[in-house]
Subunit: 221 residues, 2 copies
């Protein structure tokens, strides 16, 4: 059933779309900032890619929100937390789900990818050699294969993307993070996972992502 | 400038709001599921609070998405990842920010609270006694005070809430998680932080949260 509204509607003037200015501050690496750089590039917006020298970090750290980077400045307003920033930008560029359930599915898989990265990072950054050695077996024989099998199966089930058969920021985030994950794990983790490999190719073939990857400064991690 | 729309608008019939059915599956504890229970309670919706016995976990784990709980079922559709679930519900109950920037600020502080919890959990669940001992000093003397001072300052700066001078799911999540954090840390972590203490009181005084806390099953963690 449909009702007719008899009152005439007031519409605001066509909004003048003024593009915000973006500045992203991080180490001179991909790390956890690369998903943000991928999403900004996908969105086709210019951003200041502010990379500081590692030796300046102790001096800079106290001035950062919660002592952390990446920090994104949007028209001068600062915010921390890489995944939160990625989600915010993804919503603006229309890659955060076509409905609330898809937005949830994307958030869930992103959180899972974050868990996966964190488990590898916990091993990689462990400073005690005996502890590191002890963690190595379970990580490489159980944890990493478990996550990759499940991630690969999810991409297969969803038509070549993590959610809903369409590109979302979960796909960009995963592919953007791969170099850092591989650097920490010292191996190409997706080597034998066909669906994840195809996803990687598909994302890196997006013209705006391709252009970003070609022009970004070199870094190992 | 304002334009007048000359076409009359079609409005859909008042939507018949059919409340979805919710079922939350988790250990018989607060843990990382309690924020979801708080948010569902705040939203005033009924949910099945499905708690399994600890000894059944090995049997149940393989059937869970990514081997994890909590799992929320919404009209039978299952999803994992506690923070993603909390955000999804919070949006429906109008406590996920009044604009996109606030949504981002809420996401950022939630991610920070998650980091804080994870750092305490990494120590609490460490099985190697020597490693645990080594981590204890830095955790309790540096990490915990650093986070709490910054969290307290943020609540002070934002009129008694984490974001925008108004209740959001970040506030519910923090207070819901406190019992679990205190259980792991073996101390009342917010003891000397006045703004966080006031926030806790304020949240626990919300009638629907009060009712939930009174009726929930007892658990230590």
């Amino acid at each position: 059933m449909i009702r007719l509204n008899r009152q005439c509607q007031l519409l605001s003037a066509p909004e003048l779309k003024i593009m915000p200015t973006y500045k992203l501050t991080y180490f001179p690496t991909k790390g956890v900032a690369e998903p943000i750089r991928f999403i900004l590039s996908y969105g086709g917006v210019d951003f200041v890619d502010d990379r500081f020298n590692r030796e300046d970090w102790p001096k800079l750290k106290p001035s950062m929100l919660f002592g952390q980077v990446p920090i994104l400045e949007v028209d001068g307003k600062k915010i921390n937390q890489s995944t939160a920033i990625s989600r915010y930008l993804a919503k603006q560029f229309g890659i955060a789900g076509r409905n609330e359930w898809e937005a949830l599915e994307i958030d869930a898989i992103v959180a899972t990818i974050d868990d996966f990265r964190s488990k590898i990072a916990a091993w990689h950054y462990e400073t005690d050699e005996a502890t590191k050695k002890r963690k190595e077996g379970p990580l490489f024989k159980e944890t990493i294969p478990f996550y990759l099998e499940n991630l690969d199966a999810q991409v297969k089930k969803n038509g070549g993307y993590f959610v809903g058969g369409a590109l979302s920021w979960a796909d960009l985030l995963f592919v953007a993070m791969l170099d850092y994950i591989n650097f920490m794990a010292k191996t190409d983790v997706i080597g034998k996972y066909e669906n994840l490999k195809q996803l990687k190719t598909k994302v890196l073939d997006l013209p705006k992502i391709k252009a970003w990857v070609e022009k970004r400064p070199h870094s190992d991690s």
